[in-house]
């Protein structure tokens, strides 16, 4: 008998003694038992295997408890479908809202930032002490920040709005505003 045929027969015999065959399968197998000695011996082996397992003490094998079913498996599918739909709708609404209200998110135009940045220098007197305190290294604390070499900083590293603000500070724009 081929190995796979032997495996098939053992499987059939085990299901037979476990009462796991359908009526039709049982009838067919019992017809086979009438003439097939290998099938009869397979039944005897299946009983021996089942009997050996049944004879084991409860803690004989390191039997782990049945795995807990994952949450997804315990929640009804219709609830999962509703939850997924709700999430999708929320995401869709968020995208739609962003597109229909572009001003909702604050834009940072260069001119506006430049104006704000230049305004800082208008209050230089008020903030001079604060800036001096910020620039000074704290006493008793070693700084690990490397000094920035201005020569290595290229123009491309500086944002446009900051360059524009710098030009405003030293130009007539600032003077005009001071006059105002």
């Amino acid at each position: 008998m081929r190995p796979d045929a032997s495996s098939d027969l053992s499987w059939l015999a085990l299901r037979y003694i476990c009462g796991e065959l359908s009526d039709a399968e049982t009838a067919a197998f019992e017809l086979r038992l009438d003439e097939d000695q290998a099938a009869r011996e397979a039944v005897a082996r299946a009983v021996e295997l089942a009997g050996a397992v049944v004879s084991l003490p409860r803690d004989a094998s390191q039997i782990l408890p049945a795995p807990r079913r994952p949450l997804v498996a315990t929640v009804p599918r219709w609830i999962l479908a509703i939850a997924a739909s709700a999430l999708f709708l929320i995401a869709l609404r968020s995208v739609w809202h962003d597109r229909s209200h572009p001003t909702a998110k604050p834009a940072a135009p260069s001119a506006a930032l430049a104006l704000a940045w230049s305004g800082v220098h208008e209050d230089e007197d008020k903030t001079a002490d604060l800036l001096e305190w910020l620039d000074a290294a704290p006493q008793g604390v070693e700084t690990h920040l490397a000094a920035v070499d201005t020569a290595t900083v290229s123009d491309s590293d500086v944002p446009d709005w900051m360059l524009e603000a710098g030009s405003l500070t030293g130009s007539a724009g600032l003077s005009e505003r001071k006059e105002n």
């Binding site: 003439e35 011996e41 089942a50 397992v53 039997i63």
Partner: protein, 187 residues
């Protein structure tokens, strides 16, 4: 594996032919020692009742004494099993109180005798099965344990484990193949 009909026919004893029409007692004894336990397990698989199986075994060997001489020596084992099968079917039909196929494995597969020679399952077989069981992957071992030890149906196991029935059947079959290989041809 079909035995020729002439080997299976159970011929009545000829009157006054004791010794000529029966199998020799030593041969019957030898047959009993060689095959009785295997026949008993086979019969248990059919009738699923230890008491009925014991009766069937007895009546089977009574037939051996009466008609064993009609079987060829090389097919005697097959003949013996076939006689036992017909005796088992007869007994099963007679036993109307038994719910066919519904008996628990534990009720008919366990050892019912304290005498080692009468035990259905030998101690070494139990130990070998325990080792084979321990060698199985967890998911396969759990299915084997649930089906054979706890006597749960495959459908119940699938439901409890939260896996498809096909997965449970595949795990059980893989486990069975591995255990058969581990145990050699013994089981």
């Amino acid at each position: 594996m079909r035995e020729p009909e002439d080997h299976l026919r159970l011929q009545p004893l000829e009157e006054g032919s004791a010794g000529r029409g029966t199998l020799e007692p030593s041969r019957v004894e030898s047959l009993f020692h060689e095959h009785a336990m295997e026949v008993r397990r086979f019969v248990l698989g059919i009738v699923r009742d230890p008491e009925v199986a014991a009766d069937v075994l007895q009546s089977t060997f009574a037939k051996v004494v009466e008609s064993g001489h009609t079987a060829r020596a090389e097919t005697l084992k097959g003949w013996l099993f076939r006689v036992a099968y017909h005796e088992a079917l007869t007994a099963r039909r007679r036993d109307q109180t038994r719910a066919e196929g519904q008996r628990k494995l534990a009720s008919f597969c366990t050892n019912t005798s304290d005498r080692p020679e009468d035990r259905l399952i030998q101690g070494e077989t139990i130990e070998a099965v325990r080792k084979a069981l321990d060698d199985l992957p967890n998911e396969q071992r759990r299915v084997v344990w649930a089906r054979l030890y706890e006597d749960k149906t495959f459908a119940t196991i699938a439901q409890e484990f939260g896996v498809p029935l096909g997965t449970v059947l595949t795990r059980m079959r893989l486990a069975l193949d591995k255990m058969r290989r581990s145990l050699g041809t013994g089981v």
